[in-house]
Amino acid sequence: MTGKLIWNDIRQNKLLSFVTLVFMTITAMLLALTVLLSVNLLGAIDDLMAKAQTPDFLQMHAGEIDREEISQFAGKHDEIKEWQVCRFLNLENSSVSLGGKSLADSTQDNGLCVQGDQFDYLLDMENKRPEVAKGEVYVPAGYRALYDLSVGDFLQIGSCKLKIAGFIRDSQMNSMMASSKRFLVNEADYERIKEQGEEEYLIEFLLQEEADTGVFGTAYAEAGLPANGPTVTKPLIRMMNALSDGMMILVIFLVSIVVLLISLLCIRFVLALRMEKDMREVGMLKALGIGKKEIRQIYFSKYVLLAACGALVGLVFAYLIQGPLVKQMQELYGVAKSGWQTGIFSVLAVMLTEGIILFSIRKGLKRTEKLSVLEALFLEPREEKKKEYLQYLLIGFVTAACVFLMLVPENLYSTLSSPDFVTYMGIGNGEIRIDVRQTEDIARTTMEVAENLINDERVEKFTVLQTKNYSSFLADGTKCNLMVEEGDHTVFPVSYVNGTAPEKENEIALSTLNAKELGVSVGDSLILQTGNGTTTYAVCGIYSDITNGGKTAKADIVNAQDDTTVMWSILYVSLKSPVSRQEWLSEYSSKGIKAVDIADYVAQTYGQTLQQIKLAKGVAAGAAVVIIFVVIMLFMRLIVEKKRYSISLQKALGFTSGSIRKSYMIKGLLPAAVGIVTGLLLCSVLGEGLCGMFLQTLGADGFRFVVEWEKILLLIPALALLTVVLAVRLGISEIKKVKAFECCMRKE
């Protein structure tokens, strides 16, 4: 009997049941998708890192190293399981071509390496350690799509040609956000090409499971071991790996939460409408002696059935949609081993979603339990006006929420792809960036480049920033390394969360992560140990930075007499307006100066992430459009159904279908328009905060959206409005079918 009741109820209320099912499906699909992608990504990264045996702590170093010194240090530290020194042959990008395409424009530090002896393995696409034959090379997996490569193509370094034998996953440097890329070659080839690049070292440590990388880092710094380069830890590598695709998952998660809220609200509203209609039936069932439990079961079973269908369909859709979304993840990190876990977690996510919805429905149905037979039988329906008002309010709310859904990922995308975003990454907003690294004498080369720029009339302004490694002290007095970028930071300033750029001597600005670690804020003092003793500096500003692991510092000049080696130099340049940037860049490249367009730098560093966010914003926009359409069409249909009597009366009095439809069109469009405006406001107030919270974890504080106004004010509202118009038109199409005589046959 219950089965018949459910089936007949669904048949008689096709639209309402369908809408409920759509909500349940979309919500389940999005949450399942979030889980599938997360489990896939994290599982694949963990698998890859486990197979590759990623080091727990690694110190990059340019310059000579003393292995004996490191060996002694390792002997004293029980927490070190294994250690090794990997060589990395940094190549001059302009002398490298990949599949016939030059790497001159690449913002990455491309170099050769051989397979690690004991750990930190580079793995092939089957996550196995490849045997590299002489004359062959394995290329970073991320480059396959970027340079349209296939096995058999060639990597050319100067006059030396290596055949691409396959692609490798590098657990450390897979992400485009990692600034270096390793090509795997045979030992003999490495030695042969050695002269064409600058050799750098990766001093790597594999620690015992319980060891703290932070404590170990401090011990390493205190031991005065080679540290001419950034320090990277396993958690940072993991985060970097997860970040590029994690952004997409975050966007989808955000969308699913908003959709869940909309679903709950709409389903509860539809339920309230239905129950008002069904209340007399409930009363009758109670009068017949049917128990509370059974009555609830009759009404609840339908939703359980719909939820089960929604969960199933949502799960199937999630599996179908994840295909294209995990493509890049699988390319970079491989397929997650734990297939059954993915299944279980996605089913659990779907069950949780439907559980929340069903719980809300059950709470809604509780009302029927509290009513006595007589109340249910003779309950006066709530005031019609109030219900109608609520419906219009919901139209506005849903439109606002959906516009918010479309705008936040759009703004996140435009922000991350904007050249101004670099100022949140600790990079000045110049047009061109020149890196001086891996040369014999960095300071001298920097001076030469600077002289070139001084004599170049096309240059509007430039600044030289040199990074040196000093020691500082943590709050507890332990020593730590601090990479300080020296130079005039006011020419191309970064975005400061607090305070200003260092302008005077003895002023220092710190990245948020460093400020946190050192336990200082603006106005506090900080002691730096230079070659000539210790000096106290005043912290003048705190800025967000996601380069070099987010731990950097900026000072005007630390100590003019100090002879600490320059680790690398960066020169930011902007050109006078009519000068062609491309021509200028190629001219400087031909002089052997590594100059890149900052827009290209951003595009290359965040290309992967942007690609993924683009996909996610597509999913978000799609879901938003479907929801706007379904909800508004449904609500307009409900309104027309309720107003059937008065529409019929209007027709009887001589109103045309067209004029009645026009008035309902306005009634539907008005709250939607208000919703669109509210969505815009919500996005700027809430959206920025939400994305900021996430980016803060990466060190990008004080985040502000970079808004593409034409899209925000025209394209998205236009898309939303068009959907609303179509939905309202379809929703009120029934008006045509209402006959003038109907009002004489029945009462309202």
């Binding site: 009997m1 018949k4 009741l5 007949n8 109820d9 008689q12 007399r280 039936e281 009363g283 009758m284 069932l285 109670k286 009068a287 017949l288 002696g289 049917i290 128990g291 509370k292 059974e294 006595s372 037979v373 007589l374 039988l377």
Partner: protein
């Protein structure tokens, strides 16, 4: 005859004031009175659908006013039948399924109590259908079994309601203005069904405005301002005496100030 229903000093807020009466097995009693006199309230309180503010109701010696909500529901399902003025049928079910609904529910309860086997359940389902078919035949609506409730006349629907109220063989049938929403001929048809059921032994308590309907009963209680202020006993209903009974009732009602 044995007493079936006893109402003692029943009170409900300001509507009913110490109402007391008894109904014996096989009786057909009408409650009449002007609008707002408390007729329907009396019926709903006696049937356990509402909780009186004072007094007691006994059905077959068991005090139903002291029962919990669930126990009252059990009582209504197994021992009482109810016919509404507005019929109140499930829109999602056809006529037959609407009639079967309380039977299926009662059967489910039996399943829980007796833990019958699946086979027995199946046979009892067939039995239920047979019972429903017999009832429908008796009330001449056999051909409406598969119809939707929106595709039958008011009279037919009310007869279906009577079938539903009788499906669990109740000890007493309550009816609230059962002919109130029907036209004259349909009302007469429905009333005939009540009389038939009463003749077969069903005890009936009905509320009506219609003196013609009341004249077919064995007794009439007159309710005014929440008090029973008059009672009229009528001889057993015989077709030939219909007119005479009606006149008697009308005369009595006039005396009562109707």
């Amino acid at each position: 005859m044995a007493e079936l229903l006893r109402v003692e000093n029943l009170c409900k807020d300001q509507i009913l004031n110490n109402v007391s009466f008894t109904i014996e097995k096989g009786e057909m009693v009408a409650v009449m009175g002007p609008s707002g006199s408390g007729k329907s309230t009396l019926l709903y309180n006696v049937a356990g659908m509402d909780q009186p503010s004072g007094g007691s109701v006994f059905l077959n010696g068991e005090e139903i006013t002291k029962l919990s909500e669930d126990e009252k529901a059990f009582f209504r399902l197994h021992k009482m039948g109810f016919v509404f003025q507005q019929m109140n049928m499930m829109g999602n079910l056809n006529i037959l399924d609407n009639i079967l609904l309380p039977a299926v529910q009662a059967n489910r309860g039996g399943k829980e109590l007796g833990k019958r086997s699946r086979k027995e359940n199946r046979s009892s389902k067939t039995q239920l259908r047979e019972n429903a078919a017999k009832l429908m035949q008796k009330l001449s609506i056999s051909d409406l079994a598969g119809r939707s409730i929106t595709r039958v006349s008011g009279g037919q629907l009310q007869r279906a309601c009577i079938c539903r109220s009788m499906i669990n063989h109740p000890e007493i049938l309550f009816a609230d203005e059962p002919t109130g929403a029907l036209n004259k001929s349909a009302a007469a048809e429905v009333m005939e069904e009540f009389i038939k059921l009463n003749r077969e032994g069903t005890t009936i308590l009905l509320v009506t405005h219609d003196s013609k309907v009341a004249s077919r009963c064995s007794r009439i209680l007159y309710l005014l301002d929440g008090n029973i202020c008059g009672e009229l006993k009528l001889p057993k209903a015989e077709g030939s005496m219909e007119k005479q009974r009606e006149e008697t009732v009308n005369k009595w009602l006039m005396e009562m100030g109707w």
